[in-house]
């Protein structure tokens, strides 16, 4: 048994670190598990995010962040455990149902509709929200663009509204994704590596934008992130995973000081410094 294994065995249940009333939480995750062919990818993760709060989910490669994320957004069904959104258990629902319950998403590798303009991308989300996808008569170009423009305005993309998504710079695509994610007035935003592939200056700008929107509109945000600078600058709280288990949770300062976290990161030779 290595030193780090011993340390992990002694981890206290992470939820004890939370001191808000649990029923007020936008998202409440209790003890979810997932294994693939005998390999435990996620084993007993619990977490919660409140309105206007940014929770970062971090950990070295293979820690189970993506699996965790995919259970929350509906791409994977947890083996057990509960995922409660605004009081409703959403575990195992398909992504599109989860979206309708008020969860917006951005992807690690941006996913937008390349053959449509920026504006149309946002309009699609609005049309879907309005249950109008099976309309075969009214041209999309005659839709009132006001709401979509307002969303683009919020992410600073209004000027590029007419450009096709296929030709945008990567940072701009991330903003478009944010606008799409905001289209159904979500209670929760799930952002998978929101700043991956961006220039450092853009990263800060995007996360500031996200944090502002979240706080102003009371949206809970859960994000994973490799860039520790971004995490410590913008997260309200941080949950650290290693090999599918939570090893630390708390305020950025607490997590930064946690010796087990340091050990995990240094021990795995992570390239991103934690301090």
């Amino acid at each position: 048994m290595s030193a780090s294994d011993r340390a992990r065995a002694g981890v206290p249940p992470s939820t004890e670190a939370v001191n808000r009333p649990r029923q007020d939480m936008t998202l409440l995750v209790e003890d979810i598990h997932k294994s693939f062919g005998g390999v435990q990818a996620v084993a007993g993760v619990s977490l919660s995010v409140g309105a206007g709060e940014l929770l970062a989910l971090i950990g070295p490669n293979g820690a189970g962040k993506s699996t965790c994320f995919n259970m929350l957004n509906g791409q994977l069904k947890p083996d057990r455990g509960r995922i409660v959104l605004k009081g409703q258990d959403i575990a195992g629902l398909p992504p599109r149902r989860i979206w309708r319950l008020g969860v917006g998403r951005t992807f690690q590798i941006t996913a937008t509709f390349a053959s449509m303009s920026v504006l149309e991308n946002v309009q699609m989300a609005l049309l879907s929200h309005a249950h109008r996808l099976f309309d075969i008569w009214n041209p999309v170009t005659r839709e009132d663009p006001a709401r979509a423009m307002a969303l683009l305005e919020r992410v600073g993309m209004a000027a590029q509204a007419q450009r096709p998504c296929g030709v945008l710079a990567y940072g701009d695509l991330k903003r478009v994704e944010l606008a799409i994610a905001l289209a159904n007035d979500p209670a929760l935003l799930l952002m998978d590596e929101p700043t991956a592939g961006m220039a450092p200056s853009e990263r800060v700008a995007l996360m500031e934008l996200t944090a502002n929107i979240a706080r102003n509109s009371g949206i809970a945000v859960l994000f994973t992130e490799h860039d520790m600078e971004v995490v410590f600058a913008h997260a309200d709280r941080i949950l650290v995973l290693d090999r599918g288990r939570p090893i630390a949770e708390g305020l950025p300062a607490e997590v930064r000081a946690d010796p087990r976290v340091r050990e995990v990161y240094l021990g795995t030779g992570a390239t991103h410094g934690i301090a």
Binding site: N73, P94, P95, R96, R97, W99, R100, R105, F107, I109, A111, T112, F113, A114, S115, M116, S117, E120, Q123, M124, A125, L127, S128, H129, R132, L133, F134, D135, I136, W137, N138, P139, V140, T141, P164, G166, I180, A183, N184
Partner: protein
Amino acid sequence: MVQGLSGLASASSLFLVASGLTVIFGVTRIVNFAHGSLYMMGAYLSWTLVTALPRGHLGFWGGVLVAALIVGVIGVLIEVLLLRRIYKAPELFQLLGTFGVVLIVQDVALMIWGPQDLLGPRAPGLRGAVEILGVRFPLYELFLIAVGPVVLGLLWLLFHRTRWGTTVRAATADREMVGALGVNQRMLFTTVFFLGSVLAGLGGALQLPRESVNLQMDLAIIAEAFVVVVIGGLGSLPGAFLAALLLGQLQAFGILIFPKITLVLAFLVMAVVLVVRPHGLLGRPPASAHAAHVVEPPYPPATPLARNLGFAALALAVLVPPFMGEFALIVFTEIAIMVLFAASLHFIMGPGGMASFGHAAYFGLGAYGAALLAKHFAAPMELGLFAAPLMAGFAGVVFGWFCVRLSGVYAAMLTLAFAQIAWSTAFQWVEITGGDNGILGVWPSAWAQPKLVYYYMALVLCVGVTLLLRRAIFAPFGYALRAGRDSPLRAEAIGMDGFRIRWVAFILAAIAAGIAGGLFAYAKGSVFPTYMAIPRSVDALLMVLLGGVQTVSGPIVGALAYTWIHEQLMRSFDLWRLFLGSVIVALVLFFPQGLVGAAQRLTERRK
């Protein structure tokens, strides 16, 4: 037991052809329609060589091998002169080019080898038969049974023990990898094409002692070879081997119980396999689902120029016919129907990103819907034209439910399987459908009998429904369809039910094709299984690709151009296939985005 051996021999032959096809597809992602032509050339060339060379082992086996190598060189020529220039074209576009090659080869072979079937000599040393369990079994068949596994083994060694083979496998698993590995992609594709063509040529040459060489060999083998490749899993050699074995055995034993099942057995098996295993027996889902996608261009609203051209064409279509002869009206009616047929296929293929190799099923079912009512219930045309989209739409509901779950070539092949099942039903259910003799006397009601009246009716319906489809493409539904094509992940993440959207699109396309089919039935006065046979499905594909699958007006222009060229050439030239093939190849080379795609580029450049 001996029945099983017979099945094994057929399986071996089939595997040779299918292995070449699957290797080529695996690396280049080209649906090589000309593979059957390469097979046929292998057979013809070996016939020429073997009959010209001195008799004996050297003459025979040497002839077979040299024929295979020559076919390999022909394959390289096709790759270098034609396909290499269109790798960047939209998906499946290469199919159009290879189809042109098929047509050219058919007429060239006719010119060189004449119309009569040729029977080659038997293989020296393997003429006779051996006694197995009291039944005589040809030695050559035993030899063929061995050839399959031996070729599989050699290919395995080639792919696992050489650097080139490793690259091929890497490229098959993930096309993007090739660029990353710094491999000379051109060289890789050309050599792969050589190997695939040699295998096809060898497959054909080895048939020499077994079957007569004839001009129908190419199309007889190609569908079955594709079925084997798809059942096995695209790009998978062991899969192709397994599938060939499965088909060979099912065929050998199936005819003992159902002698008439020969028409459709392969397609039935494919349908079952694909429903149960969407990527074939040993196929894997594509490695990179969305990241590596070709970026589809946007659909710009029609420019004033295009709009005016459209109006002018429509005005011509309305104003000119009264001054034309009856035959021109017949042709115009047919063109109008083909425009709708192509537009209906484009609806799922363009915005939906789902190619269909069996779209004629809905066209044909529409025609049969009308004809069956007319035949069995003496229904008038008005009712028949109402039944056509109903029948096609119903088939769309059922078949679509299975097809839209699959993606890419698998989905396209499943549509083909269903089309063949529908076709064989019409073909075999003689009591109801009249079998291949069809249903006659499906003539319009008295008021629509004059050709001009019928033309206007067809024009209104076809243009109307085509415009409706166009309207749907620019409405939220069409956008949602495109959304699912561009990024299934994002579409799902904003609440779209991709399955339902594609399913509804499939049904709408089937209904539109059914209307076209119903109109076609009354225009011709008769209905035949050929209405839903593979060539008609291919016609639809060609029209869409020729016009430009990535544009909204493409299918319309494609249908106009293809129907017109086809009709003119077929009427004017004995060697019309050679001409049509050459025209197609030329169009493919000069307009790799299709006709409308090229026009759009041209106007964009002018700006």
